[in-house]
């Protein structure tokens, strides 16, 4: 019953978003499927959005929510372009991992 009377402060939200960001970073560093790496980048973007909204409430300022709106739009554009690149690369070689994409290597 003590737990139910606790109110999460903004530090809790910020620490949660830090954990989410670290998990996303770990995924980008470890996974080799380009699509899954993209999903991990989405995780990191969501962690940043969460901390923006938390700080908007903390500062009592609507601009934090406005920038989350723009982050979402840019994330959508980024996903569209990134998936287009992945489709055009993987159309020929379906079973690819990022380690095989060394075309630009000198």
């Amino acid at each position: 019953m003590i737990a139910l009377s606790l109110t999460p402060t903004s530090s809790w939200y910020l620490i949660l978003s830090a954990v989410l960001f670290a998990i996303g970073t770990f995924g980008v560093l470890v996974r080799r499927n380009p699509l899954v790496m993209f999903m991990c980048i989405e995780l990191m973007l969501n962690a940043v959005n969460l901390s923006f909204v938390t700080l908007a409430r903390e500062l009592n300022d609507i601009n934090g929510q406005t920038i989350v709106f723009f982050v979402m739009v840019v994330a959508a554009a980024e996903v569209v372009v990134g998936l287009g690149i992945i489709v055009s690369i993987m159309r020929n070689r379906a079973a690819m991992t990022v380690d095989d994409m060394a075309e630009l290597k000198g």
Partner: protein, 178 residues
């Protein structure tokens, strides 16, 4: 009550995030991503960002994840990835150290900076009898369409460029069609 919501949403977020990086199958990873995105939307509602919660569900969980699943289907890459193989030696231990270090730095900064912020904005309207049920949406719209209207227009240009660029990227060369 807010504590209960926070714990449930945190569990959704963390389970989904771990699911994205440990599931072998890309489709399962995408579905775990949906769980995380819904958890973030719940926390948006808990922090009175109602419009952003709606956009989160519609744009992220709707459009973006469907796009991921569509590409997985289109490319036929839904085969199971062997997570046991480690292409670079010591890649995973180094990744663990990097992420724990990153997490440590962030948490230390958050704990140190706790209470250092003071309110300085004009306030976030909460939906009540005076402001009406759509207070958050109205206030966000006023912010976007007055102060940030140039950024909003530039964003629309960015979206057009992204769409045209993707069509160009994924189109087959004309010579190979005929």
């Amino acid at each position: 009550m807010e504590f209960f919501v926070f714990v449930c949403a945190s569990l959704m977020i963390l389970l989904g995030a771990v699911g994205v990086i440990v599931r072998k199958h890309p489709v399962h990873a995408a579905l775990s991503l949906v769980l995380t995105l819904f958890g973030v939307a719940v926390l948006f509602v808990a922090q009175d960002a109602h419009f952003l919660a709606a956009v989160q569900v519609i744009v992220y969980a709707g459009a973006i994840v469907v796009l991921f699943l569509f590409v997985i289907m289109l490319l036929g890459v839904d085969r199971v990835e062997n997570l046991r193989t480690e292409p670079l030696s010591a890649q995973r231990p180094l990744a663990v150290i990097t992420c724990l270090g990153l997490l440590g730095v962030l948490v230390a900064a958050i704990v140190n900076g706790d209470g250092a912020l003071n309110e300085r904005g004009e306030g976030i309207n909460l939906p009540d009898l005076q402001n009406g049920p759509d207070a958050n949406t109205v206030q966000l719209a006023e912010s976007i369409f007055s102060r940030y209207v140039v950024a909003f227009e530039v964003t629309s240009v960015l979206l057009v460029i992204a769409v045209v660029g993707t069509v160009l990227l994924t189109r087959k060369a004309k010579s190979s069609v005929k």
